[in-house]
């Protein structure tokens, strides 16, 4: 029998070094953001300090008490959730149809869906702006949510279709034989089966909508202004408010990190559009 190589004990090893460097480089920007958010403006611009000399939570306090800041988060949350809900409600039946039935042009239609994502959002900024302005949807949450579905529905359909294809068709038929009506089967039996797929699709929709800046800024002015837009307009008369901006950045990362945590086990499958 071959000898099993065991790792030498000791605190230094090549593997560990690579790992430490990797994590270090990944985390430095985030650490620096958190570091800045806990400093005063004077400290940020005057001295180089690896950790806050004068620890302060004033920056966070500003954001959480000033409506012009926290409403940015609220607005973003509203249209992101709206978008996820709309995208999934549309994508679920569509993906089911693509995975279960064959109809004329189904393969072309399926591919065409994805081609929607090939254009940069900027292309659609102008038509959306004009269209929404003329129908009175400008500066509403639903406007941004609808604009984002153009990119999210195709992605959600692709991801969900992959997951649905993995469910044998016989389960559908057994359910019908047992007496399930289609809506009941879909919600009681089928959706729990692809729950992880729904989670992953929701995550990808969330992520796109949460980080997308151009469309959301173009389609809003005051009432539905998203946090990313708020953050780009922080140059005041007294100069740049570094600390508050950093705190806003930290708070913007949090929701994404939370969502990632919930779907962490399925993300790889999601990136492969469910086809693993």
């Amino acid at each position: 029998m071959a000898k099993i190589r065991t790792q030498k004990p000791g605190w230094f090893s090549g593997k560990a070094l690579v790992m430490v460097l990797y994590i270090l480089f990944l985390l430095i920007p985030i650490y620096w953001l958190i570091n800045m958010s806990l400093k005063t403006n004077e400290e940020i611009i005057s001295v180089f300090s690896v950790w806050p000399r004068h620890l302060t939570f004033d920056n966070y306090k500003t954001i959480l008490t000033d409506a012009s800041w926290y409403m940015g988060y609220v607005n973003s949350m509203i249209y992101v959730v709206l978008n996820v809900v709309i995208s999934l409600t549309v994508a679920l039946p569509a993906a089911y149809a693509f995975s279960r039935y064959s109809f004329i042009g189904d393969k072309h239609l399926f591919f065409w869906l994805l081609s929607n994502r090939m254009a940069p959002p900027a292309v659609f900024a102008l038509p959306f702006f004009q269209l929404y302005s003329s129908v009175g949807l400008f500066d509403t949450h639903i406007a941004v949510a609808l604009a984002h579905t153009l990119f999210n529905v195709p992605l959600a359909v692709w991801i969900l279709e992959g997951f649905m294809r993995g469910v044998p068709k016989e389960i559908d038929e057994t359910a019908y034989v047992d007496g399930y009506s289609f809506p009941r089967f879909f919600t009681r039996i089928f959706m729990p089966l692809i729950a992880s797929g729904i989670g992953v699709a929701a995550f990808f929709c969330f992520m796109f909508s949460w980080v997308e800046l151009l469309l959301s800024r173009t389609l809003t002015s005051v009432a539905a202004k998203p946090i990313t837009a708020v953050m780009t307009r922080t140059v005041s008369a007294s100069g740049m408010d570094w600390g508050v901006l950093a705190a806003a950045g930290v708070l913007t990362i949090v929701p994404g990190a939370l969502v990632i945590y919930f779907v962490r086990n399925y993300i790889a499958k999601g990136f492969a559009l469910g086809r693993v």
Binding site: D178, S181, R184, L193
Partner: protein, 359 residues
């Protein structure tokens, strides 16, 4: 209750899956669909269930036309070859699902579920999820769900094919008991002739989308209507040899002759015999002797399969006991005249083997 197929056929994009079929399944009968893979067993079953619409023909249930009816309204149950359960529900909920949809009362559901779980020996697993069970238990769960509903038509599509040998034997002995208890029409698809014989009831032999014969299982086995049915309903498949009748003599491939017992016209016929009727020793004086070239022999423990060539025909012999037979040697095999079926050139049975009448 009867299920009647009236010239039902099914073709998909120009290819015929099921040729026009007439079939009447009687109340409380066990019906076996026997045929090789792709012979149309599943297609026929899906038509019976209403999962597919027939291209032509009608399906009658108790005389009522149910051809276009939704599957949900058909009061049927179906078990697939794959173990199909609802993975997100516990075994209890799986079995209870059809009853809940029928809006039965809680106590009624509980009683029925416990009964059928006990019958399927699933009582200790009721709280678990199907995917945590072994293959046999998963399939028993599917069977329990199919039976609990008290459906008038229970379709079992090769339910035991994916199970290991031991479990298959075990469940196979249970299925006739379950069937008797239920009083429903059972349809059971299988590729194995032994399974059909063990289950009894009626057998429909299928070949390339056609029901070649439908009747009582032992009858279909002993009196196959034609060579195709005989081939389907014989494992290993039936052996054939051409035979010429001239006057009162039958001449087998110009090698052996026998007195012609049957009142047949002179001409060329096909003679068929089952592999288990092949003997390595002469047992009766009148036995026919054929010289064959051995291809390979397989020993299964208590039986020996001999694959051999007799002129241009490939034969298989199934003989009792362990015989070490080297390949590529010449071997004499013996065949009793009583075990020979005579088929016409078109394949239809002209004279059954005489042992059938004695049995």
């Amino acid at each position: 209750m009867t299920l009647e197929l009236v010239s039902v056929s099914k073709s998909v994009s120009g290819r015929v899956h099921i040729h026009a079929t007439d079939l009447v399944l009687q109340n409380g009968s066990m019906n076996v669909l026997l045929g090789a893979t792709l012979s149309g067993k599943t297609s026929l079953m899906r038509l019976m269930a209403g999962l597919d619409k027939p291209s032509s023909g009608k399906i009658l249930w108790n005389g009522h036309d149910v051809t276009g009816m939704r599957v949900q309204d058909r009061n049927i149950a179906m078990v697939y070859q794959q173990f199909i359960n609802y993975p997100s529900m516990s075994v209890y909920d799986n079995i209870a699902a059809p009853l809940r949809l029928m809006r039965k009362s809680k106590s009624e559901i509980d009683k029925a579920v416990c009964e059928s779980a006990a019958l399927m020996k699933l009582t200790p697993q009721l709280a678990r999820k199907p995917l945590e069970l072994s293959g046999g238990q998963q399939q028993r769960c599917a069977l329990a769900r199919a039976l609990v509903k008290g459906a008038g038509l229970v379709l079992l599509d090769e339910p035991l094919a994916n199970l290991d040998y031991k479990l298959r034997e075990e469940l196979r002995t249970e299925i006739p008991k379950i069937f008797e208890a239920s009083g429903a029409i059972f349809v059971y698809a299988t590729t194995e002739p032994e399974e059909a014989l063990l289950l009894g009831g009626n057998t429909a032999a299928l070949h390339e989308g056609r029901v070649t014969q439908f009747g009582l299982t032992p009858e279909v086995y002993r009196l196959p209507k034609d060579a195709v049915t005989a081939r389907v309903f014989s494992n290993p498949p039936m052996n054939f040899i051409s035979v010429t009748k001239q006057g009162d003599q039958l001449s087998f491939a110009n090698e052996q002759t026998a007195p012609a017992l049957q009142t047949l016209d002179d001409g060329v016929y096909q003679a068929g015999f089952r592999p288990d009727h092949v003997a390595l020793t002469r047992r009766t004086q009148s036995a026919l002797e054929f010289k064959c070239q051995v291809q390979v022999s397989e020993i299964t423990g208590s039986e020996t399969y001999v694959h051999m060539d007799h002129q241009e025909n490939k034969w298989i012999g199934l003989v009792d006991g362990v015989h070490h037979i080297a390949a590529n040697q010449e071997l004499s095999v013996f065949l009793d005249l009583a075990h020979i079926y005579l088929f016409g050139q078109d394949g239809s049975l002209l004279a059954p083997a005489t042992y059938v009448k004695a049995a």
